[in-house]
């Protein structure tokens, strides 16, 4: 291990832990390092544009290069690149927001987000990491994953985000069986009160889920009377099937409908 690389990583994480720029003294205290050491690291990171220094206050914040690296990371997901057109089309067809997620340990990482096509202010959720069991994307992925992966996910932890979050592993297991059977996952205010999501898994040529695509929005529009609207389910499944075909997984998908 190269110690200075690890320390530089710690500095970047501290600067990313909140919106406020941090001074050398504060960073040194938080990391338990000498001020001179932190200063040297910050100067090197500044040359690489990984951090930037506020001219007036002398405090440091994250630098613009990180945004480019973040975008490069997102682009490294083949699924994201392939999902752009499908996601746009799905958002237009359903008039709702569309999210594409990939499995990331016990979370779903949102790699693409198309805003609901109205003029409301919305917040970009790309980069958000959502516990798999509170997300239709996560449940769609888990339902089609290898049994040992599913078992590990069900072992938890399964944090409760709302009163409707399913935290009982057996209840979740039964829900995943139903998702597998139906080919679509539904989330009903399990992550955020008032919001729902309908999603389907995207499989590769080996039938392994690489991610999921889904429609997210107000529960009263997506699940009138508590049940997912038929036209939404059809549109989501069609998009997932299309993406699955793009990844060369068409025949496998046909098998699970």
């Amino acid at each position: 291990m190269i110690q200075s690389v690890r320390r530089a990583g710690s500095i970047l994480r501290e600067l990313g832990s909140g919106p406020r720029p941090l001074g050398v003294t504060e960073l040194a205290e938080r990391l338990g390092l000498a001020k001179a050491t932190v200063y040297g690291l910050l100067r090197s990171l500044e040359v690489e544009e990984l951090v930037e220094r506020d001219v007036e206050t002398g405090r440091y914040r994250l630098g613009p290069t990180l945004l480019q690296l973040g975008n490069a990371y997102l682009d490294s997901h083949e699924l994201r690149a392939r999902s752009l057109l499908w996601a746009d089309a799905l958002a237009t067809r359903t008039s709702e927001a569309v999210r594409v997620g990939v499995p990331n340990g016990p979370n779903v990482l949102i790699v693409h987000h198309v805003f609901r096509p109205d003029d409301s202010v919305q917040i970009l959720e790309v980069g958000a990491s959502i516990p798999w069991h509170v997300s239709a994307l996560g449940k769609a992925i888990a339902a089609h994953d290898f049994e040992e992966v599913r078992d590990r996910l069900l072992e938890g932890p399964l944090p409760r985000l709302t009163g409707r979050t399913i935290t009982d592993p057996e209840e979740l297991r039964r829900a995943l069986e139903e998702v597998h059977r139906a080919g679509v996952a539904v989330e009903d205010q399990e992550a955020v009160i008032g919001e729902a999501e309908v999603a389907a898994a995207i499989l590769d040529h080996d039938g392994v889920p690489r991610g999921a695509i889904g429609v997210a929005g107000p529960v009263e529009r997506l699940l009138p009377d508590g049940v997912a609207r038929g036209d939404l389910v059809a549109a989501v499944k069609e998009s997932a099937r299309g993406l699955t075909r793009d990844l060369g997984g068409g025949r496998r998908y046909a098998r699970i409908r």
Binding site: S17, G18, P19, Q122, I123, E125, L161, G163, G194
Partner: protein
């Protein structure tokens, strides 16, 4: 200024009207808070919902305090949207149910009503103090209300304590990282921002304080 001893449907109506005025006055501030960690629609949504609740009161006759609260709650669920609509609307409905078909009620019953609202919000959201939600203002306010009652203070003083506790709770949300709601999976970006939900709750407790002063527009 007249001090209300027996609370009736007129008191509930004053509370809702004061809440609507308070929300309207703070609409842009709430939206600004929400823009930092949410959808930037909290102020607009709450204003629309409470305006609809006032319009509904203007149209329909008073009825009983419990049924008025339930009607206001249903209006909020339908017209606020987002997470705030179901949370505040369901809380108001639970408050109304707790009154049953009583014509009037006292301060003890008002405490029961507040507790019913808090319980409903916690049942729906599974949030506790420190999660950076409505609960961070609602729970301490309800506790302060109870403490005030137990010390034998009059209702206006008790309501003032509750409002002050709600406002303290709001300020305490600033350094917190959200553990519930959409802000929770945005991670650290929520740190350093005052929670919009807790803020609107404090506005509702300020409205309650003004409603207890007898006439709606009192200082």
């Amino acid at each position: 200024m007249a001090v209300v001893e027996r609370l009736d449907v007129g008191f509930v109506e004053r509370w809702v009207r004061e809440a609507a005025l308070g929300i309207q006055a703070q609409r842009d501030f709430l939206t600004q808070l929400d823009a930092a960690i949410g959808d930037a629609d909290h102020g607009v949504n709450m204003d629309r919902g409470f305006a609809a609740a006032v319009a509904r009161m203007d149209e329909a006759p008073d009825g009983l305090p419990g049924s008025l609260l339930e009607a206001v709650g249903s209006t909020l669920v339908l017209s606020v949207g987002g997470a705030a609509g179901p949370l505040y609307g369901s809380a108001m409905r639970a408050m109304g149910r707790s009154l049953g078909d009583a014509d009037t009620f006292d301060a003890e019953r008002l405490l029961v009503l507040l507790r019913a609202g808090l319980e409903e919000i916690q049942r729906l959201g599974a949030a506790t103090v420190g999660d950076k939600t409505i609960v961070d203002a609602f729970l301490p306010a309800t506790q302060a209300f109870e403490r005030g009652l137990r010390t034998g203070e009059g209702l206006p003083a008790v309501a003032a304590r509750a409002r002050a506790a709600a406002e303290e709770g709001v300020l305490a949300t600033v350094p917190l990282q959200a553990r519930k709601g959409r802000a929770s999976y945005l991670g650290a970006r929520s740190v350093g921002h005052q929670d919009p939900g807790a803020t609107s709750t404090a506005i509702l407790f300020a409205a309650l304080e003004r409603a207890t002063a007898g006439e709606g527009s009192g200082p």
